[in-house]
């Protein structure tokens, strides 16, 4: 507790959550656009989808970098345990991240068909794999992973690929594809937009099926994630708001108010992250079996002094960050137009 009566550990749980939520919302549509990339056919269409995220994808990834940095600084023990324990997953995530970035950058630099096909596939697979791995990681954290008495991860790579985690991976991909398709509707026009508009409803249905299945699995097999909701029924309102936001998407799309549809989609991702955070609190890594070895916001954190210094940085930094994120999106608003600087 500080002089202000703030519990800094909770503040940092929220702040790390905010950074990862920012990442999920922003890079979420990037990854979704990537996962839909091969479904567009002509080179012109593919260039438009690629350039819809052209000026922003790089900044979106910074949310992940900063989130990981904040995790390292505020909860170093969590950072160390998760990153070393999930070694192969994290490395695959890195390879996908690198490959995808490079594919975006290089695709349109040469006119040859094979060249563009190659990077299109790289962009598609990288995006798909990233979304899936993020989901698998979240699924493992939610389900709980074996943690030893020494605070180290005691499982291996294959034990991470259990059905619940895989289901979470698929759900995350579905979520991002839905989110990405709505973003594309907002950024495109004409025939391409018409085509993508047709995808949105189908992607929403796929997502809802995945989401419902994952939720059922959570209720049945991951009771510790839902305990708090059982004891505090009022929290259920977040889940309802989430459903309303998702239901609102086809309505707005139908009315042609694409921006509001996109905002609904952003809101629903934020709501999902909030539900995850509330269910998981105060854990950072839930140990299953042996919950007593779990890493929490209190036993895996940095010193109060460091948390305080970092809070000051966040207070100075975050408003500025949000200001120029908003202004970049504002400057590049509207439909995609290809010009000589485009990808």
């Amino acid at each position: 507790m500080t002089e202000l009566g703030l519990d800094l550990n909770i503040v940092w749980f929220v702040l790390v959550g905010v950074l990862f939520t920012g990442y999920a919302i922003l890079d979420g549509f990037d990854l979704g656009v990537g996962a839909l990339h091969l479904f567009t056919k002509t080179d012109q269409e593919r260039r438009i989808t690629l350039n819809s995220i052209g000026p922003v994808w790089d900044g979106n990834e910074v949310w992940l970098v900063t989130g990981a940095g904040a995790l390292f600084a505020a909860f170093p023990i969590v950072y160390a345990t998760v990153f070393s324990g999930f070694y192969i997953v994290i490395k695959l995530l890195l390879f996908a991240l690198i490959f995808r970035a490079v594919a975006i950058e290089f695709r349109s630099k040469q006119p040859m068909k094979w060249w563009r096909e190659m990077w299109d596939i790289g962009f598609f697979l990288g995006s798909l794999l990233l979304g899936f791995l993020i989901g698998v990681t979240m699924g493992n954290l939610a389900y709980g992973v074996p943690i030893g008495a020494d605070g180290e991860y005691a499982g291996d790579f294959l034990s991470m690929l259990h059905p619940y985690a895989l289901m979470m991976g698929v759900t995350t991909v579905a979520l991002f594809m839905m989110h990405g398709s709505i973003y594309l509707v907002m950024k495109t026009e004409g025939d391409l937009q018409k085509k993508i508009r047709g995808w949105v409803n189908r992607l929403i249905i796929i997502f809802i099926i995945c989401y419902a299945t994952t939720t059922m699995a959570t209720l049945l097999y991951v009771p510790h994630m839902v305990d708090i909701f059982k004891h505090n029924p009022s929290l259920f309102i977040i889940a309802i708001l989430n459903m309303l936001a998702i239901a609102n998407i086809p309505r707005e799309i139908h009315k042609g108010r694409d921006f509001f549809a996109f905002m609904s989609s952003c809101f629903s991702i934020a709501a999902l992250m909030v539900i995850f955070g509330i269910g998981y609190f105060p854990h950072m890594v839930y140990s299953n079996p042996n919950p007593e070895y779990s890493l929490t916001i209190y036993n895996a954190c940095s010193s109060q002094k460091t948390l305080g210094i970092m809070l000051l940085m966040a207070i100075i930094g975050l408003p500025v960050v949000i200001a120029y994120t908003v202004s970049v999106y504002y400057i590049f608003r509207g439909k995609v137009k290809l010009d000589q600087m485009s990808y």
């Binding site: 970098v65 994290i90 390879f95 040469q110 002094k305």
Partner: protein, 467 residues
């Protein structure tokens, strides 16, 4: 490499593989940030000149260098995320130990540098026609500033590993960890400012010599002459200033090393026995077994550099307390250090000689000089790498100097096979990446500056019309 007690061979494999992986990934990454930091400065200068003089050739230059910058930046970002994750994946014990201190520097880099850089980069690269010239120039400055901020926080973090300050150790044995006691003492630890300056000057050199090299290439091929001459003029000015600055900052960095890491200095110059008139080698070979150095040296040179007189001895390994240990690869530290010095001196000579040759009118006649200038881009690149190898290999056997050994910082749960897998993948992916990078860079160079950029369009055209 010597085998220490208490480590069976699997652990040893993990250590070697993890170190090779970190060295490989960071060496590859470090090709790019110096270029983007240095090129950032050149872009600020050219775009500033355009706004000031309204001469559209500077607009063409700003556009061209921005394209090169974007390519370099993309690979820099993609390869940069790796390190931030690698501390956790491969150096988990280290991360637990230093997270409180080291993590905050990395988080600060994200908040203060990366967002600034990536946000304004969008405007810099894609926003030429969308914003007014003044605002575009502002964005260029912000990207350049962001790149510098990024260097600040990384050097602070690394310098804390070299000369830790502003911390205390809490807990004992396995649960021991460093906690910040004084944030500003941590940031301004004894070596951070000198090392930051040394690194930044190295980056400015990298950018300047890239521009020199490409301009010389166009002159050699007799293409885009006006463009090439103006670019050369700007870059050569930067190169002359920075080569001298580097001499000054290098000697300051050496002072800091002598004061805080005498074992590193001893390895850099191969000083085994402490004796008066300690020599400074121009080049040489260290026989570590025999504790001897063979080569050409200036008698008393190191004494003079260290103490400003030729007699006072510089500490050798014999008088340095054995608890500090010795770097495992003394000859390698010696060689990379001397390589860096030799290139630094060479760049001073080359930059001033080129200015002189230009003044005399020889530069545009002498193909051989143009050819050397084309190759010169490798100079700062190799020197920057060599400098970091000196700093990092010279820090061994410590990961945090005097606090934690490198062998103690590893991830306990990670197996050698897993590290080998990721290492092989990194080598493959980076090799592919590097080939594609060279290919695309060459494409851009062959395409050259766009003549239609001589007439600014969109909002950039406005000030011209108003005139």
């Amino acid at each position: 490499m010597e085998r220490r007690n208490g480590h069976d061979s699997p652990t040893m494999d993990v250590e070697i593989l993890s170190r090779i992986q970190f060295a490989f990934t960071i060496s590859f990454h470090y090709i790019y940030p110096p270029l983007s930091i240095g090129l950032g400065v050149i872009m600020v200068i050219t775009e500033g000149l355009w706004l000031k003089t309204k001469n559209n050739i500077y607009h063409q230059m700003a556009r061209f260098w921005t394209k090169i910058f974007a390519l370099i930046f993309a690979i820099g970002v993609a390869s940069g995320i790796v390190m931030e994750f690698e501390f956790g994946t491969n150096w988990a014990t280290y991360s637990r130990f230093v997270g409180d201190v080291f993590g905050s520097a990395l988080a600060a880099e994200g908040i203060f540098a990366f967002f600034l850089e990536s946000g304004f980069l969008a405007i810099l690269v894609f926003g030429w026609d969308k914003v007014k010239p003044g605002f575009h120039f502002f964005s260029t400055c912000m990207v350049c500033l962001g790149a510098h901020f990024s260097a600040v926080w990384i050097i602070v973090a690394n310098s804390w590993m070299q000369t830790p300050a502003g911390y205390r150790i809490v807990g004992e044995g396995k649960t021991a960890r460093a906690e910040i006691t004084d944030f500003w003492a941590m940031v301004f630890n004894p070596s951070s400012m000198d090392r930051l300056f040394h690194t930044l000057v190295g980056c400015w050199q990298a950018g300047a010599w890239l521009v020199i090299s490409l301009s010389a290439y166009y002159i050699l091929k007799n293409r885009h002459l006006e463009f090439a001459k103006r670019s050369l003029q700007i870059a050569l000015t930067v190169a002359c200033i920075t080569s001298l600055l580097q001499l000054y900052s290098g000697s300051r960095s050496a002072d800091i090393v002598m004061k805080y890491q005498p074992a590193k200095l001893a390895a850099m110059e191969g000083v085994f026995k402490t004796k008066p008139y300690t020599p400074m080698y121009i080049f040489g070979w260290v026989d570590v077994e025999a504790e001897k150095v063979y080569g050409l040296y200036i008698p008393g040179g190191l004494s003079f550099l260290a103490h400003k007189n030729f007699e006072t001895p510089v500490k050798g390994f014999d008088t340095i307390s054995p608890e500090w240990g010795r770097p495992q690869l003394i000859n390698a530290v010696f060689q990379v250090y001397h390589l860096m010095i030799a290139i630094g001196m060479g760049l001073i000579g080359l930059s001033f000689f080129t200015v002189f040759a230009w003044y005399k009118g020889w530069l545009f006649k002498w193909k051989w000089l143009q050819f050397i200038l084309v190759l010169s881009v490798l100079g700062p690149q190799v020197a920057n790498q060599a400098g970091w190898y000196t700093a990092e290999m010279g820090r061994q056997p410590w990961i945090v100097y005097g606090l934690m050994k490198t062998s103690e910082g590893l991830s306990k749960t990670v197996k050698a096979e897993a590290v080998l897998f990721s290492l092989i993948m990194f080598v493959l992916i980076y090799f592919l990446l590097f080939m594609v990078f060279l290919y695309l860079l060459n494409e851009k160079i062959q395409h050259g500056p766009d003549d239609k950029d001589l007439i600014p369009t969109g909002k950039l055209a406005l000030p011209e019309k108003n005139k």
